[in-house]
Every structure is written in structure tokens, then in C-alpha cells.
Amino acid sequence: MKKVYATAGEALDGLLHDGMFIAAGGFGLCGIPELLIAAIRDAGTKDLTIASNNCGVDDFGLGILLKTRQIKKMISSYVGENAEFMRQYLSGELELEFNPQGTLAERMRAGGCGIPGFYTKTGVGTVIAEGKEVKSFDGQDYILERGIVADLSIVKAWKADDTGNLVFRKTARNFNPPAAMCGRVCVAEVEEIVPRGSLDPDLIHLPGIYVHRIVQGQHEKRIEQRTVRKREDA
């Protein structure tokens, strides 16, 4: 069963269609599937609904799909840092569903784990609760949130073996595992494909069962806010 593809475009071949629902990993510009996003731009797939914590910046990450008007709706927790997003949203061209960050992560994990709904305290008594079932457990109110199942997941990992076992690096892990879980098909881009058997089976973050296609490539890995401290002289 061949999972490794030569390019991001080939890895997405046959998986894209207008109006589809995509779940994407990444937080800010950290750990985003930048090669697959670029390939979706090149494919020109339209009317996309995308569940992703953020929507990139104007010229990088999911922001490039805004510029080309390929996104119909975003499901996100935070969409600052993107002027084009705000323009399209305020003009009514773009739909937006805000999800609390943890609710979004759990909705993805739930959808991937066959859980169609779960109860959470997050958002009780706020606009987030509007239209949602409220249920009391042990005297406290919770709202029902739905699991997400996407047509396609796009994620970015550090290393993979050819069976799709993935390892992430530092905080670039973030939404990638839950996003990968919730897709009917999942395509992963990685910095390095290593030989089978070279990943310690105890240390695999996401087993290959969740990953259907893999592509290796060069990543820009742009930094959104470079903050540093000075080396103090002793």
C-alpha cells in the first residue's frame, strides 16, 4: 500500500472537489500544512469550508486561499492578523463560525473517535451556547457540542515513515493530531520521510492508520512574532 507521493499536488490528486469540508492542522503559522495549502490554491478548488484554529496571514498559510476567494466558510477560534479576512467577512463574502479553541480541538478529536456529541462547560451563558442543547450534570450546566468529520484533513508533521506513522516537533504538534483524526482521508506533509523501523514505536505521536497519503518537502516555517531577549553579560 503506497502512501508516499512525490509532490503535494499528486498527494491531493482525486481528493479535491468544490464545496468540500477540510480540517487543517496548525496554530498561527506554526505547524501548518503550507505545501498542501499551496497545492489547493493551485488546484483552484472553490467554496471550501475549512476548520482550522486560525486563517494564516495575508500572504502565507490559509490566507493565500482567501486572496483567491477559494474559502466560503471558516470554523476558527481566532482570526486576527489578517486584513483580507476582515474585509471579506465584513462585506459578507466569507462566513465565519467561531469555536472556542478547546471546543474546536475536541470537536475534531471527537469526530475522529466516533463521538458525535459531547458536553462541555466552555461557552455556557455566552453567545457560543445559542441554539445549543443545554444539559445539567450534577447540578452544573453544560452545552452539547458536535464532533466534526471532514472530507479531507491536511496536516504537517516533522517526520514520517512510509506507513504514515508521524512524529511532530515541539509546539508544531498543536491541532495536527486532532485534525488528522477527523478526516475521512488525511494527507500529511513532512520534513523528512525516514525508513520503516527507524521511528521508535513507543514514540510515534500519530499512528499511520490516520494517514493515507504523505509528501515530503521544503518548508518555509515562517515566524509570526519574533520575540527575543538579550544575552546579559555576566
Binding site: 476558527s76 481566532y78 475536541e106 486532532p178
Partner: protein, 208 residues
């Protein structure tokens, strides 16, 4: 006379006890890390990290290592990384002892508003709703009044809520107040601030 940003952060740091896992919001709350002293505090960054270290030295920034404010940071010898579902699992599950957060408004029943102003640009709540609903103790650090001099400590919030009845303690430039049955209780006044001044600057009901 009142506390400045650093004094507010220093006061907030007194809320933290040895062994606590804590989440600090953006702004003044971030400064709290400078005042924990010898206490063994582990900072969570909700994008998937426990044991957040300081900013990196110039040239050592790692694009794979950022905090929830998307700033480059470093790791410590106690650090562990995990995915976002796990991260918010520990937040929602009450494993984080305290969150110290900024606010636009706090009400006397503990309601908190800090994520949107209708009619203005809405960026989203990020992890704030999860944090205030989930962590053990919510401590708000903010200026007592807005730029127009109006109280931000209110009978009822006027802005859309981040969480309902979630705030435990409010630390402002004028003092410290606790959310208690019936209203707010003055815990202490900032240096040079009288109780009368604190009461006058507060719209919320003060009890006790």
C-alpha cells in the same frame, strides 16, 4: 497613587503557590512570570506546552516553538509538549490551578467579558472561554477604569461574555477584590489608595 503594571503583576504573582500549573494571558498577566521568585510554578501555553521558558536569545528562535500569543519562546528541563485536544483537556478538566487574564469588564457575579466589542473588529475568543470555564481559579488583572474613567468593575457586564460567573479575584491598579455572594469584597487597597477611592471607582456592589 495606585499600582503600575509591574506592581499589579507582582501582586498577582502572590496568588501563585508552589507546585501550581498556571496559564498566563497576554498583556499584564505575561509580566507575572517575572515575579514568581523561588516558587516552583509551571507555565502552560495552551497551544500545547507545559513548562514554558523565556524568549530565546537572538538567533536562537525556533519556528516550531511558540506560545499562545504566537511569540517565539524556549523550553525548560521540565517541558512537555502535547496536542491541542490534550492541552484543552487539561484546561477543561481543571488540572490548571489558575489562569491570570486581562479583561474589558468584570461583573460582581463573576461574569467576565474580554473577547469582543460589538461593531468593532472581532478577532475571536481563542482559548479564553475554555480557560475561564475550566481552570481552578480565574484571576483578572486589569485597570480599574477605562480611558474615559468609567468603572470596568460593574454590576452587570455590558459586553458579550467570555464566561458566566467564572472570576474568583480581581486585581486592578486600585486594589484587590473577591467575588463573593452578593457582590465583591475588598481584599486590599493598592498603596496610596483609600477604601473610599476604591469604592468610588467601582460600579459593582461592594459587600462586607
Amino acid at each position: 497613587m495606585a499600582w503600575d503594571r509591574n506592581q499589579m503583576a507582582a501582586r498577582a504573582a502572590q496568588e501563585l503557590e508552589d507546585g501550581m500549573y498556571v496559564n498566563l494571558g497576554i498583556g499584564i498577566p505575561t509580566l507575572v512570570a517575572n515575579y514568581v521568585g523561588d516558587k516552583d510554578i509551571t507555565l502552560q501555553s495552551e497551544n500545547g506546552m507545559l513548562g514554558m521558558g523565556p524568549f530565546p536569545f537572538e538567533g536562537e528562535e525556533d519556528p516550531d516553538l511558540i506560545n499562545a500569543g504566537k511569540q517565539t519562546i524556549t523550553e525548560l528541563d521540565r517541558t512537555a509538549y502535547f496536542d491541542s485536544a490534550t492541552s484543552f483537556g487539561m484546561i477543561r478538566g481543571g488540572k490548571i490551578a489558575a489562569a491570570i487574564l486581562g479583561a474589558m469588564e468584570v461583573a460582581e457575579n463573576g461574569d467576565l467579558a474580554n473577547w469582543m466589542i460589538p461593531g468593532k473588529l472581532v478577532k475571536g475568543m481563542g482559548g479564553a472561554m475554555d480557560l475561564v470555564a475550566g481552570v481552578g481559579r480565574v484571576i483578572v488583572v486589569m485597570d480599574h477604569t477605562n480611558k474615559a474613567g468609567e468603572s470596568k468593575v460593574l454590576r452587570e457586564c455590558t459586553l458579550p461574555l467570555t464566561g458566566k460567573s467564572v472570576v474568583d479575584r480581581i486585581i486592578t491598579n486600585l486594589g484587590v477584590l473577591d467575588v463573593v455572594p452578593g457582590g465583591l469584597k475588598i481584599v486590599e487597597c493598592a498603596e496610596g489608595v483609600t477604601e473610599e477611592e476604591l469604592r468610588a471607582a467601582t460600579e459593582a456592589t461592594i459587600v462586607g
